[in-house]
Symmetry: none
Subunit: 191 residues, 4 copies
Amino acid sequence: MDAEQKWALILREAKSSFARFGYRKTTVDDIAQAVEMTKSNLYFYVPSKRALYDQVVRRALIAWHEKVIRSLAGEHDLKRMLYLMAEHAFYYLNEDTQLCSIIAQDPAILSSEQREDRFDDVNQVSIDSLRGLLQQGVDAKVFRPIDVDLTAEFFFSIYLMMVIKAYVNKDQSAPEQFRQALDIVIQGILL
Amino acid sequence: MDAEQKWALILREAKSSFARFGYRKTTVDDIAQAVEMTKSNLYFYVPSKRALYDQVVRRALIAWHEKVIRSLAGEHDLKRMLYLMAEHAFYYLNEDTQLCSIIAQDPAILSSEQREDRFDDVNQVSIDSLRGLLQQGVDAKVFRPIDVDLTAEFFFSIYLMMVIKAYVNKDQSAPEQFRQALDIVIQGILL
Amino acid sequence: MDAEQKWALILREAKSSFARFGYRKTTVDDIAQAVEMTKSNLYFYVPSKRALYDQVVRRALIAWHEKVIRSLAGEHDLKRMLYLMAEHAFYYLNEDTQLCSIIAQDPAILSSEQREDRFDDVNQVSIDSLRGLLQQGVDAKVFRPIDVDLTAEFFFSIYLMMVIKAYVNKDQSAPEQFRQALDIVIQGILL
Amino acid sequence: MDAEQKWALILREAKSSFARFGYRKTTVDDIAQAVEMTKSNLYFYVPSKRALYDQVVRRALIAWHEKVIRSLAGEHDLKRMLYLMAEHAFYYLNEDTQLCSIIAQDPAILSSEQREDRFDDVNQVSIDSLRGLLQQGVDAKVFRPIDVDLTAEFFFSIYLMMVIKAYVNKDQSAPEQFRQALDIVIQGILL
DNA sequence: CATGAATGAGTCTTCATTCAT
DNA sequence: CATGAATGAAGACTCATTCAT
C-alpha cells in the first residue's frame, strides 16, 4: 500500500470514527487502531487530531456540493432545477451517512457566519448556486418576487435539517417529509 | 435559602454554563462555582452532570412550548394561528437565548425519535399542537390536502432551525429570513 | 497531616526531585510518588509542574539570601563583613545542597537580567547588599576606587560559581579554593 | 560533497541547533533538516544524538583552548601573560557565541571532576596552562605564594562565568565587569 | 448539609531510534 | 548511501465522581 492509499485509508477511517463517536469522543487511538497503525505512526501522516478532523469534514462537504452541482447539468427549467438540487442534496447523503452523523454532532460545521472561519467558504458555494437559481426564476417571472438572499439561505438550511433528520436520526418518514416540504416550499415561491 | 431555592439556583446557573460552553466543556466545577458551592456539595443536590443537563434542557423545552400554546388562546383563524405559533415559537427565544445556545451545541435534543429516550416526549407535545392546527385547516379546506404528520414535523423543524440561526449564530438577517420562510411556507399550504 | 504540612511536604519532595533529576527529567509522577499521592491529587495542590518548580526555587533563594543577611548583624568592619557574607553565602549551601544542584542544572536561575523575569527580583536583593558594603568601603577609603556596580555583580557571581563547584560537583578542594579566591579577591580591592 | 565534508557540515549545523535550543529541545530532525538530510540518513553518520552533542562540544572546547594557548606565543612577562590569557579566553567567544550558548544551557560541560567522563580531559589542558603560568610567577616572586592549583581552577572558573554573562546573558556591562574582575584578581595575587 | 481531599481513567502529543527496501 | 515509515515509551494535564469527616 503506497502513501496515497494509506492517506486515503486514514481519511476514510477517521471519518468513520468521527461519525460514530463525534470529535471529542473519538480518540486518536481509535483511528490508529482502525487503520492498523500505531498512534505514533499515525502522527507521521497527520499533524493533529483537529487537523485531521478538518480535512475529513472539508473533503466531505466539497464532495457533497460538487455532486449536487453536477446533477444540474443539462437541465434548464428553473423549477425543475430547484427540485433536482434539493433531491440530490438530500439523497446524496444516502451515500454519505457518515457526513450526516458528523454534522449532527457538530452543527457549527454548517453555520455560515463570518466569525467562524472553518468551513464557511465551502458552504458558501452551495448557497451561491441556490441564489443564482432563485434570481433567475424571479427575473423570469417564474417565481414570486421573494428576497433571493434570504430564501437561498432558508432553502439551504432546510436541506441540512432534513438531511439530519433522515440520515442521522434515521427518521423513517424523513424522505416523505422532505418531499412534502419541498412541495410546500416550491409551491410557496411560485408566482 | 431553602432547598428549593437552591435547586432553582443550581438549575439556573447550570443552564447558563451549559449555554456558554456546551455540555462537554462545562465542568462540574464551573457550575459549582457559579452557585457558590463546592463541587462535592453540588453532588448532594445532583446525581450527575448528565442528569443535571437533562433537567435543565427538559425544563427549558417545556417552558418554551407552554408559552407558545398559551399564545394561541382566543384565536380561531387557522392561518392566523399558524402565524401566531410560529412567531411566538420564534420570538420566545429572545427570552431564552441560553436554550438556543444549548440546542445549537446539542441538536440531538430536538430529534423526535423513538430510540432516543431524552426529550422526545416534550417535543412531541408541540408537534401535536401543530398537527392539530394543520388537520383542522385541511378539514376546513383552508389548507391544501397535505400530509399533516409530515408537515407538522417539517414546520417544527423550521422553527428550530430559524431559532438557532437567529439567536445562536446571531445572524442579523434571521428575523427577516424567518418572515420570508413563513411567507413561503404558509403560501405553500394554502389552497 | 494538615494541608499546610502537606504543602510543605510537596515543596520538600519536589525540591528533592528537581535537585536530583533537573526540571525536565523530573516527572510529575516522580514527585507524586515521593509524597505518596496520586498524580491527580498532586494537581489539587499545584497548578502545574512549572509553577511548582518556580515556587521551590524562589523559596530556596529567599531562604539563602535571608540567612546571609542575618549573618552580618552586629558586625561593622567592612572587610570583615565582606568575608562574612562570602563565607555564609558559601557555607549555607552545605545546608541546601539541593538548591545547588538545581542551580547547576538551570543556571538561568541566577542570571540578573531584564529579559528574564523569573527570579531576578530575589537575586537583586543580595547584589544590592553587596553593593552597599562595597560602596561604604570605597567611601571610607578602605577599598580601592573600584566600580561598585560591576564588582558587586562580580562577587555575587563568584559565590555562585564556587557554590556550584563545591556542592554540585562535589569538588573536594572547593572550600580551600574558595578561601584562596576570597583571599585574592579581597586583597585585590584593598587600598 | 564527500564524507568528510558532510561530517563537517553535520557538526556545524548540530552545533548551531544545540546552541539555539539546547540539547533537549534540539530534535534530531532539526539537525537533519539543517543539513538537508533525512533523519534516517543522519543516523548513518552519527551513532546517537548524545554522541553528536559530545563531539560538537569537545571540538569547540578544544578549538577554544588552542586559540588561547597560541595567543601567548612570544610573550614572557608573566603578569602580561595572565592578562593575555584572560583576554583571549574571554574575547574568543565573540567568535564562537554558539559555544557560549551551549555552555550556558549545560554548564556541567565545564565542571572538572573525575566522576564525569565528559569533557574533563579537554578542560584540564587549559587549567594546566594556567597553573604553569601561576607556578612560574610564584617561583619568580612575581606573585604571592598562593596555592597554584586552587588558583588556577579559580581563574578558569572566572573566565567561564564572565563568558556566560557576556555572550549568553548578553549583559552589556560584562566586558567592563570582566576588566574590573581581572584587575581585582591580578592585583590580588601580586606580591 | 458541607467540604477538602483523593483518584482513575483517560487524552493528545513528542521523539529518539530502527529497519526494510 | 538514502529514505519513508514505523514504533514504544513517555509525559503533562483534566475531570467526573467518591468519601471521610
